[in-house]
Each structure stands twice: as structure tokens, then as C-alpha cells.
Symmetry: C2
Subunit: 159 residues, 2 copies
């Protein structure tokens, strides 16, 4: 189904909450209360987002998390990547040598095109859009993505 994991979904809920009050330091326990997501899970998500510098942490008493950049500068693509790793829709796009047909594969390069189209779409949506859902707002995604080149490459996968 081309879906993101639940942790990513939680991440958007948590970040939306934080995004409403960007100037306040938010502790994990406060976020649990506000969102209804279990504390261990909230904690796990916050750590992942901090590791990728989407959030900045403050340890110790009175500590917590704040956004590293403004909501408008924080896009959905980076949030998804922080939780799930690189956005690439097939294994061969991220891992070399796991596909027996790799040398004869014709479409690996084309998957790169598709990956890019999706990435561009996700990059165009920001946390600010999630925080302040302005009705009638428009997002313009104007590629062009250079279609492939069939780079050297090739695709496939299998095992």
C-alpha cells in the first residue's frame, strides 16, 4: 500500500503538537498527555527525530525538545527519512549487490525517477502546512525530474 510506518505517523502527530508552540520546550511526558501516544513510544520517536536533527534536545531538569528549524523549514520528506531511513521504493535503490539480476536489470534507473518524483512531492509539504491547515492553500510541485538516463544501471531485485 505504499504506506509509512506507525512510528512516522506518530512523528507527525508529535511534531504537529510541538509546532503549535515552537518557543516552548516540550518534555516527553507532556507530549504523552497531549497526544495520547504511550510514553515509551513517544520517547522512541523523539530520540529518532533528535538524532536526525529535526528536534534539538535539552537534558536534565526542565529539559525537553524543541524544533531545530521553523515549521515552514521542516518538510515531510525529512521527517519520513528520520524515522524510516532513505526514501527509495525498491531495495536495489539503496542496497548494492543483493539482486542477482542487477547486471541485466533494465529498470533500476527508472525507479530512481519514480523515487525522485515522490521525494519532490513530499518535500513540498511542510510542518507548517500540518500545523496551520490553511484551507484553499495550494502546493505547487513543478518538477522536471530528468528521466533516467538509464544510467548504467539496472534494476532488480530478487531473491
Amino acid at each position: 500500500m505504499l504506506r509509512v510506518s506507525k512510528l512516522t505517523d506518530y512523528a507527525t502527530v508529535i511534531l504537529t503538537h510541538i509546532g503549535h508552540q515552537p518557543s516552548v520546550i516540550h518534555a516527553a511526558t507532556d507530549i504523552t498527555k497531549a497526544t495520547g501516544v504511550a510514553l515509551p513510544t513517544v520517547s522512541k520517536v523523539l530520540k529518532l527525530l533528535t538524532k536526525e536533527a529535526i528536534l534539538t534536545s535539552h537534558r536534565g531538569s526542565k529539559g525537553g525538545y524543541v524544533l531545530t528549524k521553523s515549521p515552514a523549514e521542516t518538510n515531510i520528506a525529512e521527517i519520513i527519512m528520520a524515522i524510516e531511513g532513505p526514501i527509495s521504493m525498491t531495495e536495489c535503490s539503496t542496497d548494492e549487490g543483493i539482486c542477482e539480476q542487477e547486471s541485466s536489470c533494465e529498470i533500476k534507473g527508472n525507479w530512481n525517477l519514480i523515487n525522485r518524483a515522490v521525494y519532490t512531492a513530499l518535500e513540498a509539504v511542510t510542518l507548517a502546512d500540518l500545523v496551520a491547515p490553511a484551507n484553499q492553500q495550494y502546493v505547487n510541485i513543478s518538477l522536471p525530474v530528468r528521466l533516467k538516463g538509464r544510467v548504467s544501471n539496472d534494476l532488480k531485485v530478487e531473491n
Copy 2:
């Protein structure tokens, strides 16, 4: 990682093979030989694609599969949906009532926006692009997607 399943990847490999010779009837056994993908798996993928009318089947001796539409009319979004079901990145976009926070959820509508952006990107790439990868080809995706609006709708398609 926002990835498609292996079956979907196989589907693109198989369809690319068929797309090279759109006027020929391709039997499952021939496709197995040409692609290296195991017969039971090829068979499973072909059945799924046929069920969603991306391929048309011919039973009996000399039977096999052909594309229902031309490669240029067959896009990546419909291929993914044929194998994996609706393209929607969170559960709450497809299933009602499974989320405890549904009534108070602020971002469901925004995920619909994201889903739409991704769908539009995938719809812009066709099987013809995979079959005949013209170098320097461009794909133009020009939304606008109406942000939010929390429309009623969702993009999506289903199964």
C-alpha cells in the same frame, strides 16, 4: 522507508518485459524464463494485474497475457494499486474507526494532501517511460493540489 513491496517490484519488471512486445501474448512460463522470477511468483503477480484489468488474460492452449491499454496509458500509480491496494500512507486514510484519537485528530486531512501529492507524482510516470527510457526525458508534474481543504475526499482508489 516508504517502499513498495517486492511483488510490486516484480510487477514492474514483468510489465516492462511485456511492454517491449505489446502485440505478443505472453505466457507465465515465458515470462519466468525472460525475467528470472520464480514461476509461482510470476503467476501470482499476473493474476493480480489481470484482476485489476492492467492485463487481459487468454486461457487455454496458446493462452497468456497482454496489456489492456498501451504502455503510455498505463501508469505507475495504477500498477502499485493493483498489487498493494489503495495508495494512502496512513491507516486512518483508508479505514474508519480504528483510531482512538480520530475525533480529535488534526492532521488526517493533511495526510490526505500528502497522499494526493504522492499519487500525482506516481501517476505522471507511465509504463512507456520504463520500457523506452528516453534519456533526457522530462516528466512534468504540475499540481496544484489543493491543500487541505480537508476535503472530503481522498484521493484514492481502492480495491
